[in-house]
């Protein structure tokens, strides 16, 4: 038993001795290090961190990188002198300070991007809503358009489909006006820094964002051109409203177009997108203006007002003043009444909002037509009174002669 115990103690003591010898050797190995290895390890870790810095794309990764750079600096500062020699002409401090400031700025940049991503999500959410609504209205007016294409003229004038079609077009225009307001509110007053940050945020999260305001604008311009190419005949009021929407859309683009390009297309292809959009807006304007002038010419004509044909604002004003001036000269009361009725009940009541809004006619020009119209009224009114007096005198003479004849008989 005693012998057994002795063996056991000897074995334990040997094991402890062996373990402590191993530990001592390990400690010794740690104490004496190869300078070359130290430098190699430092360079390797430094290069790994630099590679991570190039690829860092999330705040969490950037934070970890900041910590790792601090650790590297802490771990190797005791070898500063050795590293200064090995890294010559750079120094350990210079190299670490450079990396440290790079990771710090990457961290800050990603933090900013993360903040702007929320704003971008909100903007994208709005765009998605608009896209959906626009698509629904487009589908509605497309299907109504197909129904109308299969109707004859007589059925059309009686059908509620025409009313629905016009209403859907009007609804779509209202939506476009809402989009314009929303885009102006969101993008008009962004400062340079925010634009830059939003652009970075967009670049960062590009994979997750299919829609953006720039694409929405392109869609609206394109669908309007398509609509004007295939639309059924609408009223002049409808065309004027569409013209007014187009003008507001162009104004909006002039105000925030540059900002949208900076955010959503900051690098290559920006010029191409800008010129493509400019081309679409020009085409949209040409088409809607053309339809509007044709429709206005037709409307005057259908109401018995034979204006000389016009194709722009100046031409319209010229035709109107010529027509009224001729009317004053000719003094035709009926012609006056017809024009006056159309001018007051249609032009000034139903069209005025769009006519003045799009500068087709200015307030001054409309006032001038009104003044001429008053002159026309006075002139035709005076000739009409004379005629009435003559009739009254003739009637009076007939009555007097009648009475005299009756008395003579009796």
């Amino acid at each position: 038993m005693t012998t057994m115990k002795l063996y056991l103690h000897t074995a334990i003591a040997s094991l402890l001795l062996f373990a402590s010898a191993g530990l001592l050797q390990q400690m010794q190995a740690q104490e004496v290090q190869s300078d070359y290895e130290i430098v190699q390890n430092f360079n390797k870790t430094y290069n790994d961190l630099s590679d991570r810095l190039d690829k860092v794309s999330a705040v969490k990764e950037a934070k970890k990188l900041v910590d790792d750079v601090k650790s590297l600096q802490g771990n190797y500062s005791e070898h500063k002198e050795l590293l200064n020699k090995a890294l010559y002409p750079q120094t350990f401090e210079e190299k670490m300070n450079k990396l440290s400031s790079q990771v710090q700025s990457a961290h800050q940049r990603l933090q900013t991007i993360a903040r702007q991503e929320d704003k971008l999500k909100q903007l994208t959410g709005n765009v998605n809503d608009f896209e959906t609504q626009l698509e629904k209205l487009q589908q509605k007016s497309d299907s109504l358009q197909k129904v109308l294409a299969n109707m004859n003229q007589r059925n059309r004038s009686l059908s509620s489909t025409v009313r629905n079609y016009r209403e859907s077009v009007s609804e779509r225009d209202r939506l476009v006006l809402n989009i314009i307001d929303s885009l102006l509110a969101n993008y008009q007053q962004l400062d340079t820094q925010t634009l830059k940050e939003l652009s970075m945020a967009y670049k960062q999260s590009k994979k997750n964002i299919d829609n953006n305001a720039l694409k929405l604008i392109q869609t609206i311009a394109r669908t309007n051109i398509e609509f004007l190419n295939s639309s059924q005949t609408l009223s002049t009021g409808d065309y004027l409203r569409m013209y007014s929407v187009q003008q507001k859309f162009r104004d909006m683009w002039n105000k925030i177009g540059d900002e949208l390009i900076k955010i959503y297309k900051p690098d290559a292809g920006a010029e191409a997108v800008q010129s493509e959009l400019q081309g679409s807006l020009d085409e949209w304007e040409t088409k809607v203006a053309d339809q509007t002038w044709k429709s206005m010419n037709r409307a005057f004509d259908e109401n018995g007002i034979e204006l000389s044909e016009f194709g722009d604002s100046q031409g319209l004003y010229q035709s109107l003043t010529n027509y009224v001036d001729n009317g004053i000269k000719e003094g035709d009361r009926k012609q006056y009444q017809n024009f006056s009725q159309f001018w007051n009940n249609t032009v000034k009541t139903q069209w005025a909002e769009y006519i003045t809004g799009t500068n087709i006619l200015s307030y001054d020009q409309m006032t001038n037509v009104d003044k001429k119209l008053n002159e026309w009224d006075s002139k035709t009114a005076s000739s009409s009174y004379l005629w009435k007096i003559l009739v009254a005198v003739a009637v009076l003479i007939i009555i007097v002669l009648g009475i005299m004849l009756a008395r003579a008989k009796s």
Partner: protein
């Protein structure tokens, strides 16, 4: 009387002789050749070792022969070398039992001393510059040796 022209010529000639004499004997003392970090380099198949950073190229085969008595092919993939403060090169390789201290001469490296370290050789050797001596370490065991041009210095 010696004319000024002759006087100038004599003084100039003497000055030239003194300067030439100085030039041929000029020696700059207390030069420190120490290389702060060892060079670890892989020899080419023909034994050529090139330390680009310090501008040194030589063939390892004579040293390998001294170590292994074999020059049929290069038997090591790493050469460790470092220059000490006095200008001697210390050369070894993994598995070598010796450190070779070489003196640079015109177009050659001459063996100054072969220092025996251990019979079994060191598998992971490394040199550190610890002016005025070179430290050789066994990275497996942590054992270190002080080397000078005279051999192993007792610590």
């Amino acid at each position: 009387m010696i004319s000024n022209k002759w006087l100038n010529m004599i003084v100039g000639g003497l000055a030239a002789i003194v300067l030439m004499a100085c030039g041929s004997q000029m020696t700059i003392k207390r030069v420190n050749y120490s290389q702060s970090l060892e060079t670890v380099v892989q020899p080419a198949d023909n034994g050529k070792v090139e330390d680009v950073k310090h501008g040194l190229t030589f063939n390892i085969k004579p040293i390998q022969y001294a170590e292994t008595q074999d020059t049929s092919s290069v038997t090591t993939d790493k050469i460790h070398l470092i220059r000490g403060a006095k200008g001697y090169y210390f050369v070894t390789a993994p598995g070598y039992s010796n450190v070779y201290i070489m003196t640079p001469e015109t177009g050659s490296l001459k063996l100054h001393k072969k220092v025996h370290i251990t019979d079994n050789g060191i598998d992971k050797p490394a040199f550190n510059q610890r002016d005025p001596y070179i430290q050789l370490i066994n990275q497996d065991t942590g054992q270190s040796y002080r080397l000078t041009e005279k051999g192993i210095q007792t610590q």
